[in-house]
């Protein structure tokens, strides 16, 4: 996972989803996540997944990174599928549900910069936790960059120790050790900087207003509709279940239309 690429997409992306209010996006995410988690119908979850894919394609998110990350939980859900699934469809349900839920989180992350995403959480969490969440974001980039430099140095050294995996492994672990020490020194520097700036125990993040209120309303309404449909299928499964494949088919058509629209525009 390349956190810098994610941050770049979240801060520089120009889609309407990028411009929506962070709070709206968080609420919409909560609706979709609840819809996916409560659902037991494979086709309804599949429809949610396809709609999320359409949203990612329509927002021009980097496909390889988004779908690469979303595929990761599929591997782990396979373990649970193997443990629990009496048949292939239950197994598929585990995988599709995990991938749909993670794709919702990943789309949210790719269209919302971390500080804006954490600001609403920071307000409800204890101050140490909320502020540390924001400091983690800052430190993550510094440490990731430092580690990348260390790895480049190790690769250069490995060129000289080619065929000696043990020596190369020792060098890698040495780099990790150096990173631990660098992290502690970094925390000391950050502490000094924060004291100089008059930090008293609460970092402030200003949330940007929505670019378009009508889009925000549409986004919330769509997410609420997804949740209502999911709850409806859960509550009245016996009546509605035979119709569920229609939802997946409609979502597939929506995805095809989004892809076609994007191809036409490019």
């Amino acid at each position: 996972m390349d956190v810098r690429a994610i941050d770049l997409c979240a801060t520089t992306g120009g889609s309407r989803l990028h411009g929506a209010s962070p709070v709206t996006k968080l609420v919409a995410f909560a609706f979709v996540l609840t819809a996916v988690v409560v659902q037991q119908n494979l086709f309804v979850v599949l429809a949610c997944l396809l709609l999320l894919v359409a949203l990612a394609v329509g927002s021009r998110l980097p496909a390889r990174q988004v779908f690469g990350l979303a595929a990761y939980p599929a591997i782990f859900s396979l373990v649970f599928a193997f443990a629990a699934a009496p048949d292939a469809f239950t197994g598929a349900m585990f995988v599709v549900r995990a991938v749909a839920a993670s794709l919702a989180a990943i789309v949210l992350l790719f269209v919302t910069p971390y500080p804006q995403l954490f600001a609403p959480l920071q307000r409800v969490l204890p101050e140490v936790v909320g502020d540390a969440l924001l400091m983690t974001y800052r430190s993550l980039f510094l440490l990731a960059e430092k580690f990348e430099h260390l790895r480049v140095a190790i690769r250069l050294r490995s060129g000289l120790t080619h065929g000696h995996p043990v020596r190369a492994a020792r060098a890698t672990v040495g780099a990790l050790g150096a990173l631990v020490l660098y992290a502690f020194d970094l925390s000391q520097r950050e502490y000094d900087v924060m004291r100089l700036r008059g930090y008293q125990g609460r970092l402030r993040v200003t949330l940007p207003p929505a670019a378009s209120r009508s889009f925000d309303a549409a986004l919330l309404a769509s997410a609420a509709a997804v949740l209502l449909v999911a709850v409806g299928f859960r509550a009245a499964g016996a009546t509605l279940t035979p119709w569920s494949w229609l939802l997946a088919a409609a979502a597939a058509l929506a995805l095809l239309a989004t892809i076609a629209g994007r191809l036409v525009r490019t």
Partner: protein
């Protein structure tokens, strides 16, 4: 290495809710304790250590699934209370990246916090028993035992989950035995070969097979335990050589003004 990847929708709602309540209570207790010391110092420290764990977790040792965690290292450096806050932050960030479910942030926090606390306790015990010259052995044994315990806790969690709503599924209109769709429009509007008018089967909830799940994690897990133990031993040995105060000093939360190990930063 298998502890944080429980996807969304696998465990029953009551267990997930219980996990959230317990994790929030733990984080609240930990932040109350942190407030007794200089909060301004704790914030950057927590940020960098959480970022360090995230950077380590984003580095795959073996492609796809095996990566180092450095949770025992973080536990040794932070102590159990600050470790709990760091675990919460790490799990939130990972959930947004698709590594572990969003709904299971509570349970995953408890798992990682337990890993940090057990690792911290065992390491201190073993370092005292083995002596300072054998820090690597103490770290390796502490890591293997810690990971074995937390993996067993994960299996226990799955056993606790048992069957129920989370493992139930409906096939929609798809008959899993004949692979044919039950067509809700079978009155005559749509009549294709794969669409038939039959009542949709609703599969009963299947219990999670603890034996099967345990077989998978106890087969794949030990490879990860050994890798993690080797890396943890090497990193802690390195840090102990270069800045022993970080490894052998009291936990940071117990320091009044300056955490152990800062002696080299000024």
């Amino acid at each position: 290495m298998s502890h944080i990847h429980i996807p969304d929708g696998v465990l029953p709602v009551w267990l997930v809710a219980l996990g959230w309540v317990a994790a929030l209570a733990l984080v609240w207790c930990a932040s109350s304790r942190a407030r007794r010391t200089d909060v301004r110092r704790m914030v950057p420290l927590l940020g960098v250590v959480a970022a360090l764990v995230l950077v380590a977790m984003s580095t795959e040792v073996v492609p796809i699934a095996y990566h180092v965690n450095l949770t025992v290292v973080a536990g040794v450096l932070l102590g159990p209370w600050l470790g709990a806050i760091a675990a919460f932050i790490v799990v939130i960030m990972l959930a947004l990246l698709g590594h572990g479910g969003v709904t299971v942030i509570g349970l995953n926090t408890l798992m990682i916090a337990a890993e940090m606390a057990i690792g911290w306790g065992l390491f201190r015990l073993l370092a005292r028993a083995f002596g300072r010259r054998h820090v690597g052995w103490a770290a390796a044994v502490a890591t293997v035992v810690t990971l074995a315990i937390t993996t067993t806790a994960l299996v226990g969690l799955v056993a606790l989950a048992g069957g129920g709503a989370a493992t139930g599924r409906e096939t929609g209109a798809l008959d899993s035995r004949s692979l044919t769709f039950a067509n809700p429009l079978s009155g005559g509007i749509v009549s294709v070969n794969t669409l038939r008018g039959e009542a949709a089967p609703v599969a009963p909830a299947a219990p999670l097979s603890v034996a099967r799940f345990a077989t998978v994690v106890y087969t794949l897990g030990p490879i990860g335990w050994v890798l993690e133990a080797l890396v943890t031993a090497a990193v802690l040995s390195y840090v102990a050589r270069v800045r022993p105060g970080l490894v052998f000093g009291e936990a940071v939360i117990e320091a009044e003004r300056r955490p152990a190990g800062d002696e080299g930063t000024h």
